[in-house]
Amino acid sequence: MGREVGIVGVGQTHHARRRTDVSQAGLVREAVDRALADAKLSMEDIDTVVIATGPVLFAAVNQPEKWVVDAIGAQGKSVVRLTSGGGAGFAGALAGYYQVAGGYSDRTLVVAYDKLSEGQLQYSISTLYDPFWGREFAVGIMGFSAAYWRARMDVLGHTEEAAAMVAAKNRNNAIKNPYAHQKKPVTVEDVLNSKPLCWPIKMLDVPPISDGAAAIVLASDKVAHHSNTRPAWIRGMAYCCEADNAPERSLMLSEPLAIASKHVYRAAGITNPRRQFDVVEVQEPYSCFELNYYESLGLCPPGQAAELIASGATQVDGDIPVNPSGGCMGANPIGAVGVIRLIEAATQVMGRNETHQIQGAKTALVQSGGGWANLRGCAVLSA
């Protein structure tokens, strides 16, 4: 068993459709300065650094960590860069967690970012496809995600209305989030009537494209109190993957997420997720994803996600609020999102979320991942 690890400092940029005032490195610097200040630390106090981003094709700079190291003053430190598609930020945080839990570092800085305004998002994602076998027909992740959402409609009842409720909930929640950049009130009808992009995915089921960075400082129980009297302790964290085109793989339920949550719940002593969690933050690159997470995370049985969103339970004033921050619908700098979700959950259990605090939140669930179902992780945080 490793050491206890807490999140003791957090920082993120004001995300935007396009930040022309800073380079990639400058964007990272903003988030790092804020996280270090929040943890009452300077770079000298940091033992190791993890830098996480999406695919380099997003912004055309290979090995960007070399550039970032100069910009954050991390010369001479142990630095690794980690990438794992949409789940890059979460995977980076997991790597940092292992370093501290394993006793190799007392304080690890994890910074994650993407500057998506610079490149061609869906085309870049299409290059994940097999160049021999299907890339020429790929429409990024959107065509693929829409296809399997369509398949889930018939099997699991994930209707267009249910997904529209998710989109409206998260978009309206984002209005209060000072770091979000898409903040417009939206109704379920607005979502249903928006332009089909890759039907059943419609314009308002889709988050914005964003430039943004987010950073956290992880600390061992030995030194956490120097930064924070009430850290957000990581009670369990896992990230799993599955095969891409194997037989017997239905892609209806996300098996990796079910496996990850089983490990994490056991570590954190969670036996009834619906009752034990006070707040949930998930990475929903399209609204239909959130329905699937309800099921794979055990917030409801398979096939009942549409009922759960319709019941209002996952609204800010429901018994299991999901994405009070607005999730990806407020801002979606893809590589950073896993860390942003951790920051949102951490500030909730620390009781210091200034704009959308869930009163009395003590235990939070975080989900993040990449691809439609391939890479999925979750973590439990509590004060």
């Binding site: 380079s23 003053g73 610079e118 061609q120 065509g143 296809a147």
Partner: protein, 309 residues
């Protein structure tokens, strides 16, 4: 004892693929000002605490990450600190007077005349090179170039916010024995072939050496039909960079008869509303082969179409 296995590389044709796309990169304030000042023939550096100057200007000190106190105009003269010749062009590292660092640029001289420590001077391009570092054509050897001084940057230009850039990367992918035979069969015989799972009759497509579920060796080769069933589909109505056909059309993941895994292809549609009714998971489809000589690629199938009940 270590034995080398009795295999050796064989040269075979490759599959050519290109990833190409445009970018809009963000230089940040310092580099953005440096570039914006190029048409004005001023070289901009950044001065950090303690007076150290870096040119071209940078937003963060390469020494400790500090942000610059101010942007400055640096001299056009300096010193050659290293050089080489690439494709007939001499490339050198130049440290401008008063600066801490050296940066790479063309040296407009014969290699034989270059010496480390030699004085050099910027030569501006006679033609308009715009907001690019190539507005400096290169550096000429200039033994008598006076030692310049770093000056305040008076009335700096607005930094560039965005720089247009593009990248095209060519790849030669090796087919390997399994993809090699699959595309050979496609080209020579017009048949889509997979390999049976380790203990199943249905074929894995594309073929592979190891069964993903049992982790055992896959079985014998099997021809799949050119008909199949849609497993998942979406109706593409969005124009994105790199798309090869006009919208709308259907993106479909199809399990061919005789196969256990999907192949990705497209189905033509007339309009979204009717396609929602006719193209669904479970819909039966057939391949429409591309006319003319087959190339041995997935594009030998032009598209799929719905089999009318």
């Amino acid at each position: 004892m270590f034995y080398a296995p009795e295999t050796a590389p064989i040269d075979l044709p490759t599959f050519k693929s290109t990833i190409a796309m445009p970018y809009t990169l963000t230089p940040g304030r310092s580099a953005g000002t440096f570039l914006a000042e190029m048409p004005n023939r001023r070289i901009v550096g950044s001065r950090f605490a303690g007076g150290k100057v870096i040119a071209p200007a940078q937003d963060f000190s390469p020494v400790n990450g500090d942000e610059p106190e101010e942007l400055v105009q640096v001299p056009e003269n300096g010193e050659l600190t290293a050089f080489t010749r690439v494709d007939g062009v001499v490339i050198g590292l130049v440290r401008l007077d008063g600066c801490e660092n050296a940066f790479a640029h063309r040296i407009l001289a014969d290699l034989a005349d270059c010496k480390v420590g030699q004085r050099v001077a910027a030569q501006w391009a006679s033609e308009d090179a715009g907001t690019s570092i190539t507005a400096i054509e290169g550096f000429v050897l200039s033994p008598d170039a006076p030692v310049g001084e770093v000056k305040p940057l008076v009335g700096p230009a607005e930094p560039l916010g965005v720089i247009n850039y593009s990248m095209a990367l060519d790849y030669d992918h090796a087919y390997g024995p399994y993809y090699g035979r699959m595309f050979d069969e496609l080209k020579e015989n017009g048949v889509v072939m997979g390999v049976r799972g380790s203990n199943a009759d249905d074929a894995l497509l594309p073929p592979r050496e190891i069964d993903d579920i049992t982790h055992k060796r896959t079985g014998t080769w099997k021809a799949c039909a050119d008909t199949g069933t849609i497993r998942a589909c979406s109706l593409i109505n969005m124009e994105v960079y790199g798309q090869t056909r006009p919208v709308p059309y259907a993106y479909a993941e199809i399990v061919l008869d005789g196969a256990s895994t999907k192949m990705i292809h497209i189905i033509e549609i007339d309009d979204l509303e009717s396609a929602k009714q006719t193209i669904k998971p479970g819909t039966r489809v057939r391949a429409i082969w591309t006319k003319g000589e087959r190339k041995g690629a997935v594009s030998d199938i032009e598209r799929f179409e719905v089999i009318e009940a």
